[in-house]
Amino acid sequence: MLRSVVGGAALIALLIFSLGTALVVGLQGRGLGVLNSADWSAIKFTLWQASLSASLSIAMAIPVARALARQSFPGRQALITLLGAPFILPVIVGVLGLLAVFGRAGWISAALDWAGFAKLSVYGAPGVILAHVFFNLPLVTRLLLQAWMAIPAERFRVAESLSAAPWAYFRLIEGPMLRSTVPGAFLLVFLLCLTSFVVALAVGGGPRGTTIELAIYQAFRLDFDLGKAASLALVQFLICGTVSLLAFLVPLPQTNGLGLDRVLQRLDGWRHRLWDGFWISIAAAFLVLPLGAVLFRGLRHLLELPPQILAASVTSLTIAIISTALCLAMALSLSLAFARRGALARSLAEATGILGLASSPLVVGTGLFVLIFPYAQPMAFALPITASVNAMMALPFALRVLMPAVQETYGDYLHLRMSLGMGRWIWAKRILGPRLRRPIGFSAGLAAALSMGDLGVIALFADPDLQTLPLMLYRLMGAYRMDQAAATAVVLVVQSLFLFWMFDRGGRRHAAFG
């Protein structure tokens, strides 16, 4: 009973936050008539770059995942772990790293210049897509690698014992796997790129690289045109909603805990090894170089950190911890309330999770601003609003991890509990608690790291004397103090990873059951 009430409350809070703010925005909007040609360009650009980013990420992830699936080499496990890093890496840090490698003043441009070629021009569409591939290629690679690992080993052997040629081999084994995995992965990346804000803000290069999310921010902060911001937010909501509906029909790939440490099959032909080696090196370099560039520069200038770093850290950490608590509370109450009900209730809960994924932080932010503005100074609520929106953004990922664990525990042990006459408290403490410890730790780590790196709503609401670490980093980049920015990036990354590690480890320790 209590569970249903709490779960229902969480659901309602979520609906108010996502659909409610969208409704406010819709009422405030002045229709599509107020959008000028530049706004329509932004809408077109958003859809175009999201399609291209998703396609490129997948096209590159396929050979990388295949190489990782079938080659074993020293450092393979480390590389696979590293592939998980960009997901929790603050976007602004990634952008700083990409600029260090691919920017006009970066390594590649320096090499090109030395060789007498033109320097790279990264601002605009190339930069936006580059950054999106940087963040999503590793994600898709991990998803595909998992799908590869999930193919029964017997299938590979049957195919091999039949002497299947490469193309037949592909049709027998990899084709069907990709057919069932790629659409979901595409939609996931597409959705993530649709709501991209920081990347466009930092490397969009002006009107030619403006996403809808950035246009909302500009209508809001630069033009103070709430009606236009709302109209853009409505467009954003409609697009994301449509894609989410599709995503609901095509199941998004599950990120379960399948072991990625084994190597599936060994194809020892040197051509394969060369081909696989090529892709693994490309992926590793693409991942390691930008991060290495920032961390290296940051460490050298660590002593030049501005004194405000302390206040910014405290603000960021406080927001992260509040947001993590909120996110966990929502995810747990939703999982517990819906895990045991019928399939309908479960898909409802799943749909709400996707709603969180589809809601754009700036749409939610715009809605909240419009709600608060007549009564109070919205800027004064920057911290609670940022914490809540961050919690909501992390919720879909927390649900993905927690919901199956709760379902499994109830599925495996509910009958045992009943037959033993085990009371609610003992059940929670002895069975449910220990079984959920790991997924809780992992989702808490995820929520905390995502919140630490967020630079969305806070940019909308921040006043000049309020700093979070990503905001401070962005402002330092704005003042072109790159050394201090890199040093701040080091502090930010260390704190994000530390939070993730601490929560995740807290979940692993004493976890009585696998």
Partner: protein
């Protein structure tokens, strides 16, 4: 007290003393930077006012106005310093500003009279480049070249808006074509002046939109004569930077005192070598050696505040659609 400052106070044991009156000034980022006029202005004013002058950088000049609109009548600001005449008509329309009465011996070209705002400095927009570059002499030549430039967003930055109106004034109906031709020269559009100038100094562009007075900074402060500006034969658009008093201020007398201080020699003598602009009132000791001459009247372009306000929206649409192609 704001929730945010309360929050910061919890952790930082803020040393603010309740009895000292606080005057809050919103200004642009580079004004309050370590090398800008901010520190010197603050100590000079605090020496005579018995108050705490808090200058808050809120982005570039044009972002200041948006910020005030966002905060509305609940703003903490008593003074806004750093709008320019391209924005004053729109600012006056918000009803957020209070009329001021201030007189000074302004050296601003064309003289000065305005109900709400007083000027503190002025200058000419120009593209700054290294002396080893053969610079174009007008926008058409610039657009035809493959030189790379960094400019600022007219919605957040007063130089960005100045460039918009510069091209509009010089080219009228052809402005959209100029922008279309310029778009492949633009490395990126930054939110503010500091960001753009920093990128130029790091070698990310050949020219940057700044002021005719910017090279003087390198010459005087760094003894580096490698920077100059490109003289355009269309003429150069002018900027007059102003400050105004908020109608909602709870420090009315202090705000008036600050405005008076602003046009006094104490403040004005700080401007040339910190903000690198022409002071609104010529200081007793004149301009420092190495400071450039003012341009002739024929070389100076400027729209009245009303004209600027009337042109802004259409010019902005032209700019946006030309650059989003």
């Amino acid at each position: 007290m704001k929730v945010t400052s309360l929050f910061a106070g919890l952790f930082l044991a803020s040393a603010a003393v309740a009895e000292t009156p606080v005057l809050t000034v919103y200004t642009y980022d580079s004004f309050v930077s370590d090398w800008g006029p901010g520190p010197a202005v603050e100590s000079a004013f605090e020496a005579k006012c018995g108050c705490d002058l808090q200058m808050i950088g809120a982005g570039d000049g044009a972002a200041l106005l948006s910020r005030l609109r966002l905060e509305g009548s609940r703003t903490e600001a008593d003074i806004v310093l750093g709008l320019d005449t391209n924005l004053t008509a729109a600012a006056a329309e918000t009803d957020l500003f209070s009329p001021i009465s201030l007189s000074a011996n302004y050296a601003v070209p064309g003289g000065w009279s305005d109900t709400y705002f007083a000027p503190f400095d002025w200058g000419y927009f120009a593209f700054v480049h290294n002396t080893d570059l053969t610079a174009p002499t007008n926008f058409r030549a610039l657009a035809a070249s493959d030189l790379k430039i960094v400019i600022q967003d007219p919605r957040s930055s007063t130089p960005g808006l100045g460039l918009l109106l510069w091209i509009k004034t010089a080219y009228g109906d052809e402005a959209a074509d100029i922008w279309a031709d310029l778009s492949d020269n633009i490395v990126t559009v930054t939110a503010g002046w500091s960001e753009a100038y920093g990128m130029f100094l790091e070698g990310e562009a050949d020219l940057v939109l700044s002021y005719t007075t910017s090279p003087a900074y390198h010459l005087i402060a760094e003894e580096d004569s490698s920077k100059t500006f490109a003289l355009f034969d269309e003429g150069h658009y002018m900027q007059i930077e102003v400050a105004g008093k908020l109608a909602t201020t709870d420090q009315n007398a202090l705000a008036d005192q600050f405005l008076k201080f602003m046009v006094s020699d104490d403040f004005q003598s700080i401007i040339p070598t910190t903000n690198w602009m022409f002071p609104a009132v010529t200081p007793k000791n004149g301009l420092p050696d190495g400071f450039p001459q003012a341009l002739s009247a024929e070389q100076s372009l400027i729209l009245s505040p009303e004209q600027a306000a009337a042109q802004r929206s259409a010019a902005l649409d032209e700019w946006q659609s030309a650059l989003s192609q």
